[in-house]
């Protein structure tokens, strides 16, 4: 064992046991009030915003120009005209789509019982083991606090895991530690929607309950986090799970292409993060 110093091996072993102890801490005791964690969120806010803006710009430029670079001289004038038209069309389509999204968000604001804050997704988890986390550009300066539910016009997205001054982390409903108390909309059968990475699964549905593929799943509001009656997803498969029924749920929101979300400023009195 002369390759590594004995002292190094010993320190690594001690670190390993410290890591085990730290990992044992419940998410409730996580770094939500740790100023160092908030500081990390704050110092990465501006670089993330810059990369986000540059990426949008580069993608826009790529779409508008780069694929039209290798044009032949003969059709130059026509292509320039086509290019301009395509650009205009693309921009108008983008604006149209954005208008539709924002309109839906405004509609959501109108119907929500709680005040909401609109936010843009500017980053995501850098880690493979917990990839179901995104970073949004609103933080405690905008009234955002840990535990607040996050939604889009399509339904529930997740909840605030850590609020920095200008940005926040959102734990998506597809994360393995996420859990939402829910109902089957048609029959009011109750269960818990948990994340499984690629989607969700609704567990602890009573055996006698009436559940079918295609049923809509909505939040019950009983977990203290999410408002009642917000859509979560659709049942895609059903399987027995001991004395309960387990149902695969496809989230209603396309979480892979999240751009804008709303943070529902619902005070969370009983913050219990499920693990």
């Amino acid at each position: 064992m002369g390759f590594f110093k004995r002292r190094t091996i010993l320190i690594v072993l001690v670190l390993f046991f410290i890591a085990i102890q730290l990992f044992s801490l419940d998410l409730r005791e996580r770094n939500s009030q740790n100023p160092l964690s908030k500081f990390v969120l704050d110092i990465t806010y501006y670089p993330q915003m810059a990369v986000s803006a540059v990426t949008d710009g580069v993608i826009g430029t790529w779409r508008d120009y780069i694929h039209l670079v290798n044009v032949n001289e003969e059709n130059k004038r026509l292509r320039e005209e086509l290019n301009a038209l395509r650009k205009e069309k693309f921009e108008s389509a983008e604006i149209k789509a954005q208008n539709a999204r924002l309109k839906k968000l405004l509609d959501f604001k109108d119907v929500s019982l709680y005040p909401v804050v609109s936010a843009n997704v500017i980053g995501a988890s850098p880690s493979i083991i917990r990839s179901q986390v995104v970073i949004v550009d609103k933080g405690s300066a905008d009234g955002v606090t840990e535990g607040m539910p996050v939604a889009s016009y399509d339904g529930i997205v997740g909840r605030i895991l850590l609020a920095g001054d200008k940005s926040s982390e959102v734990l998506l409903i597809t994360d393995p530690v996420s859990a939402v108390d829910a109902y089957i909309h048609r029959t009011r059968a109750r269960g818990i929607v948990k994340g499984v990475g690629s989607g969700c699964v609704m567990e602890y549905i009573e055996n006698k309950s009436d559940v079918s593929v295609g049923d809509k799943v909505i939040s019950s509001g009983k977990d203290g986090f999410f408002p009642k009656g917000v859509i979560i997803g659709t049942v895609i498969d059903i399987s027995p799970d001991g004395s309960f029924i387990s149902a695969g749920v496809s989230p209603h929101v396309d979480l892979n292409s999240l751009e804008e979300v709303v943070i529902i400023q619902k005070s969370v009195n009983n913050v219990v993060l499920n693990e």
């Binding site: 390993f16 890591a19 998410l27 770094n31 990465t44 990426t55 995501a124 083991i129």
Partner: protein
């Protein structure tokens, strides 16, 4: 070059890397088979950096990973710090300037850090993290392929600054 300036430069590079890793190279946006620039940077610190603060930079880098990925504090901080220490110690015994050896060190560092994390997860949690040993091997290969040329480029820049 002034040691303080070197430290600040490496700190800025560290923030830049974590930014790229959480935006352009986030597993959410671009899939799983992506280089872990953060880990490659830590191996770089262990191999090249003479700066005393590189130990702190390695820990800080792991901590930023912990915070931005919503993990419990310590998972990345400690695993990456351990990897840093092991590579640092081994660099006294192995000639790490050769591309093949460097690739192997990056590969083994990846295997070590992820095995470290996976072991803790398996011992302490049934939270259903879907990550297998096969994924770790693949991640190690990707890191090696990307890391060696990055090391070559970064080593030259670093050497120039050190003069």
């Amino acid at each position: 070059m002034n040691k303080t300036v070197t430290f600040i430069s490496l700190l800025l590079v560290s923030v830049l890397i974590i930014t790229v890793q959480s935006t352009l190279l986030s597993p959410r946006n671009a899939g799983y088979l992506l280089p872990d620039l953060n880990l490659i940077f830590i191996v770089f610190l262990a191999v090249y950096s003479e700066t005393k603060g590189s130990f702190l930079l390695a820990a800080g880098n792991g901590y930023m990973m912990d915070v931005l990925s919503g993990n419990l504090p310590g998972t990345f901080t400690i695993s990456r710090l351990s990897a840093y220490m092991l590579v640092r110690t081994s660099s006294n015994h192995v000639y790490l300037r050769k591309a093949l050896v460097l690739g192997l060190v990056i590969f083994l560092s990846t295997i070590f850090t992820w095995t470290f994390i996976l072991t803790i997860i398996r011992i302490k949690s049934d939270a259903g993290f879907q990550f297998s040993f096969g994924d770790i091997i693949l991640q190690g290969l990707v890191n090696s392929v990307v890391g060696v040329p990055l090391f070559w480029a970064a080593g030259r820049i670093h050497a120039r600054f050190q003069k």
